[in-house]
Symmetry: C2
Subunit: 223 residues, 2 copies
C-alpha cells in the first residue's frame, strides 16, 4: 500500500532547519493494521500527514496505492485525499458550528452515504449526544466524532493520529475493535499512531520512529 524511499521533511525556522523526518524508508502491504510508535516529536504526525497527502516530502519518493504523491499538485492531492483517505486528526479538527451528527454527515454526503452517518455515530457510542456542538462535548466524545467522520467514508486508507488518546481503556478498546472490523471485513489499510504500548502490540505491523527515522519494523501480536 505504501512505499517510502529516502523521505525527508524539513521546516525552515529563521535560519534553523528542523528535520521532522530524515531519510525514511518503508514498505507496507495493503489491508494491514499498521501501528506507528515513538517518542513525542519523533515525526509520527508528519509521517501520517505525508501518507495522507496533507503535506509533501521535502525530498524522496512516496507511493501510496501505486500513486506517486511527491509528484502531485494541490488539485491531485485534494482528489487523492477525498477519494482514498479517512483522517482522524490528533486535534480532532471538528467543525465548531456543526453538531456531532452534522460533522459526520458532512463527510457521509461527500461519498453518498448519508444514512451511514447516524449508524457510525452510534457505533462509537455517541447516539445520545448527536446534537451537541463540539464545545458541548467532552474530549473523548469529540475524538469519537472525529473517528466516526473518518470511518463513514469507508476509506481505503485510514490514518489515525492517536485515536484513543482521550479515551479510557474500555472505550478505547471498543473503538479499536471497530477499526479492526473494518480492516478485516473490507480490507481497509490502517496506519495508527499510538503511544499506548499495550495497544501498539495489537497491530499486524509495528513501525518504530525516533528522531525522524524508522528504527524498527516488526510484526505485532495480531499475527
Amino acid at each position: 500500500a505504501l512505499v517510502a524511499r529516502d523521505v525527508w521533511k524539513q521546516y525552515l525556522l529563521g535560519d534553523v532547519t528542523v528535520n521532522a523526518l530524515r531519510g525514511v524508508n518503508l514498505q507496507l502491504p495493503a489491508g494491514r493494521f499498521v501501528v506507528l510508535v515513538g517518542p513525542s516529536g519523533s515525526g509520527k504526525t508528519t509521517m501520517l500527514n505525508l501518507a495522507g497527502g496533507l503535506d509533501v516530502p521535502t525530498k524522496g519518493e512516496l507511493l501510496v496505492f501505486g500513486r506517486r504523491l511527491n509528484d502531485m499538485n494541490e488539485a491531485q492531492l485534494t482528489e487523492y485525499r477525498r477519494r482514498e483517505v479517512g483522517f482522524v486528526f490528533q486535534m480532532f479538527n471538528l467543525v465548531p458550528t456543526l453538531t456531532a451528527l452534522e460533522n459526520v454527515r458532512l463527510v457521509a454526503q461527500l461519498v453518498g452515504n448519508d444514512d451511514l452517518a447516524a449508524d457510525t455515530l452510534a457505533a462509537v457510542g455517541l447516539a445520545h449526544v448527536a446534537d451537541h456542538l463540539p464545545s458541548q462535548l467532552s474530549g473523548g466524545e469529540q475524538q469519537r466524532v472525529a473517528i466516526a467522520r473518518a470511518l463513514v467514508k469507508q476509506p481505503r486508507l485510514l490514518l489515525a493520529d492517536e485515536p484513543t488518546g482521550a479515551l479510557d481503556v474500555e472505550t478505547g478498546l471498543e473503538v479499536l475493535g471497530l477499526l479492526w472490523h473494518e480492516t478485516r471485513k473490507r480490507g481497509m489499510t490502517v496506519m495508527m499512531v499510538t503511544h499506548n504500548t499495550i495497544l501498539a502490540r495489537l497491530g499486524d505491523i509495528v513501525v518504530r520512529l525516533r528522531s525522524g527515522q524508522v528504527i524498527e519494523v516488526a510484526p505485532g501480536e495480531a499475527v
Copy 2:
C-alpha cells in the same frame, strides 16, 4: 483543600437537560496528588472546571482553600484563578501567535517570575523548540508547553486535564515526576485527570467518577 457538597452541573440543550455532574460530594486535603478517573463523558473535565472557578455549579456548595466558589461573581472568580490556580487544559489552549517560550513567559510575567519561564520549558524537555509557534509543535510538545505554563505560576492548586494524554510513556513519566516534585517540595495540591490506569494508581488519592457521580474515593499506591 476542596469540599464539594451536593454539587450539580446541568446544561440545557433545547428542552433536554444534560446532567454533567449529579450531586457530587467530596472532601480532599491540601498538598495531595489527587487523581480523577472515569469513562469518557463521566464529568471529569466539568469537575476540574468547577474546582478552578472556570465554571459555576448549578446547585450545591463548593469550597476551595476555604473560599465559597459557588457564591463568587466573575471578578472574584477571575482573581481566584489568577492567584491560586494553574490549569493544564485537555485541549492545551495555547496562544497561537506566541512561541512556546512566549506562551510560558506570558504567565510568568503575571506573577513576576520572568526568568522561570525558560527554566520551566527546559524542565519539560522543550528548550530546543522554544521559538516554535504552537502550529510548529507536535501534539506532545504543545501539551508540554501547556504544562510548563501552568507550573511556572507555582500555583497552590494545579488542575491538569489528562496532562500526559499526548505523551509517550517515558516523557509522560518525566512530566509526572515534575508534578510530584512540586507537590512534595512546595505543598502544591494537584487534581489530575487521567485515563491511564497505571498512572492513576500513582496518586495519593484516587477519585473515580461515573455518569456525573463520585462512585469511589480510595488511597493510591503513593501512600
